[in-house]
Symmetry: C2
Subunit: 93 residues, 2 copies
Amino acid sequence: MDTKAQASFQEKALELLTADADKIARLIRVQMDNLTMPSCPLYEEVLDTQMFGLSREIEFAARLGLIEREQGKKILDSLEKELSLLHDAYTDK
Amino acid sequence: MDTKAQASFQEKALELLTADADKIARLIRVQMDNLTMPSCPLYEEVLDTQMFGLSREIEFAARLGLIEREQGKKILDSLEKELSLLHDAYTDK
């Protein structure tokens, strides 16, 4: 397979996945910045749904050989960490 | 971009999406073949979750330019039809 074409799809895939991960990170931060608001179960469900959607995109990209599994794992791990900080912030309140 | 390399990713993407859609179709058919069993809300939730996952994969593939939006829509529409037959079968019982 042409290495340049392959690289282009790989770059684009990583770009899209990173953009989607950033969107979720922003959702988490909005909630973090508003800890005075009561914890909203609906908000948590939206975050969970978005995380699941992103994990399916990452899995799909990995199966296609567009990203390394390790790259995908890093993106998800980093978001999981932010999510768990958010949960902790509510638990400690 | 090299046309051959592009075609290869496109073929692989469609192959994976079709395989995932087939898995969901099999889940639907298993339930259809067992209509004597009570309708199981957990089963429906699994199907909904799988449908959402597939729709995210399809959306991702379309954004990458690996499949036509129309192709993705057809895959989902066909599954939606089978799902609605299943719902009808339970409603008519």
